[in-house]
Symmetry: C2
Subunit: 310 residues, 2 copies
């Protein structure tokens, strides 16, 4: 395959993942809307071009019955010079031209008992270097051990079936990545995270691509059962306020630490598409501490690394 | 004066500014509460110590009649090694021990017609280098030319009276500093910003300190008349939603770009005191554009540099 063929092939895998995931999210949105007697939300479509090269498709659902906001974006961009967020991690790429394509998604549910979810799958070329990356992680507001076990076991099965990456490594990487040093807590309960996965041969490329391709089905299997389990749980103002407060931490992580966000802002990406990851509404309260023993206080036990898949 | 005397003197100036400003903010809060028939908010007091050395006093008012949240913090911290946010600006300070003291404040009013306000006054020592910095800037949600003129004229008079810094320079510096490149707009309508103001002699030190000392009175004169002018203006859900949306930009600026915030997070500062600058509630909406010709759309004209002081 030529370089251009490879790029087009990977971009197509990302577009297929986007379509498959939107179908899954819209299905659960319809179920929730039916239950609530509301009209279901739909994903709108907005495409954008990047002045420096490339563009993307941002598909966003707002004010749905299940999802307060959900976005699934695909982009493919190229540039003359690798930005700092990349060469700081991989110094050899400094000064190189680059190509990047990926799919990323963030779901902010309305019901505080339904966890927020984030995932992305990405491919990068800089000079002679090419690599894949990806990750999937869950951010609940309330701790349910059975949800955590389901989520992490599904990811573990997926990773072990492909044997392209090592499960304990990508699990620990996720725990490490989604961490807020200034809060001394994880953003959520983790999942998997991998990066700089460079195929050594064309056979190896096929194996890695197959792994990435199955990401979309895995996301559906890992996340959607939790949405279905919790979307009808009754809640009140207390749970809503806690959800908005926890979303504040989500904003802090994404704007202060997240490499994808910083990469996007540094490369003059589409700010609306990049910041679609931010929640529709978030709250900050000075020196707030949940009442000891409350379900909100219990959440702290979930925000530290734990071997949920057993 | 010994080094320690100087530090103590400057720290005391910061503490006096804090007390004077809180008195001013509580006075206008009482007026607003009287007008609304509510109990006025009061500034609580919380002090904190930094494990690495130093500490501070965070004084925060929440859920007031006029101020949805207001915070006025003083801190004095020292450390063995200057953090990246400082040595990236001043390479000569790299590896040096440092001392820093300052007062900073952020006011998020309840009424969308009352502008948010931010200011800080700061002093820094790193090795042989010592300098002052400071700034005051206004972030309205709606554009009122008379408010902008009053605010900027008050700052201009103050700066010109002392002749310690050059007004056009510190005005332009503020326009440049409070800018969101990814949004291609200013955070608000600017004000003044200065940094690395290093006194050349002890006479010079006295002059600079006198300038900094008058900062608190200037803040009161520049900002409080605008609060009094607008706190009783009637508003509805539309104005509230716009205020929350504009606050999202405020969050983006502070977490992505603000040097003080990044310095605080990098130096293991008190995260509650640092992030007190974030609004109590903020909103994001995908690809939102105000209706052309509306007061919300008109705001864009105010978010570019303008010579308000004439």
């Amino acid at each position: 395959m030529t370089l251009t063929d490879t790029r087009e092939l990977v971009h197509e895998v990302m577009r297929e993942a986007q379509a498959e995931l939107i179908a899954g999210f819209e299905a659960v949105e319809r179920e929730g809307a039916l239950h609530a007697g509301l009209a279901p939300g739909r994903f709108g479509a907005a495409s954008w071009e990047r002045p420096g090269g490339g563009g993307g498709s941002a598909r966003v659902l707002t004010e749905g019955a299940v999802f307060e906001r959900a976005g699934v974006n695909v982009s493919a961009v190229n540039g003359a010079e690798v930005p700092p967020s990349i060469y700081q991690e991989q110094p050899a790429t400094r000064g190189q031209a680059y190509f990047a394509t990926g799919v990323s998604m963030v779901l902010h549910p309305r019901n505080p008992y339904v966890p927020a979810f984030h995932a992305n799958l990405r491919y990068f070329e800089a000079g002679e270097t090419r690599w894949f990356g990806g990750g999937m992680d869950l951010t609940p507001n309330y701790g349910f051990a059975e949800d955590a076990r389901h989520f992490h076991s599904t990811l573990k099965d997926y990773v072990e079936r492909h044997a392209v990456v090592d499960y304990p490594t990508v699990k620990a990487w996720c725990d490490h990545y989604f961490y807020l040093p200034h809060r001394k807590e994880m953003r959520g309960i983790g999942g998997i995270f991998f990066d700089q996965l460079s195929p050594a041969s064309s056979d190896d490329f096929e194996r890695v691509l197959a792994f990435v391709r199955e990401g979309a089905a895995t996301i559906r299997a890992a996340y959607l059962p939790l949405v279905r389990r919790r979307f009808a749980t009754a809640y009140g103002e207390r749970e809503r306020q806690w959800q908005l407060y926890r979303r504040g931490r989500y904003v802090e992580f994404n704007l202060v630490y997240d490499r994808g966000t910083r990469f996007g802002l540094q490369t003059d990406g589409n700010s609306e598409a990049i910041l679609m990851s931010l929640p529709p509404l978030a709250r900050w309260e000075f020196q707030y501490t949940p009442e000891p023993g409350s379900p909100e206080a219990e959440m702290a036990r979930f925000l530290v690394p734990h071997d949920w898949a057993g």
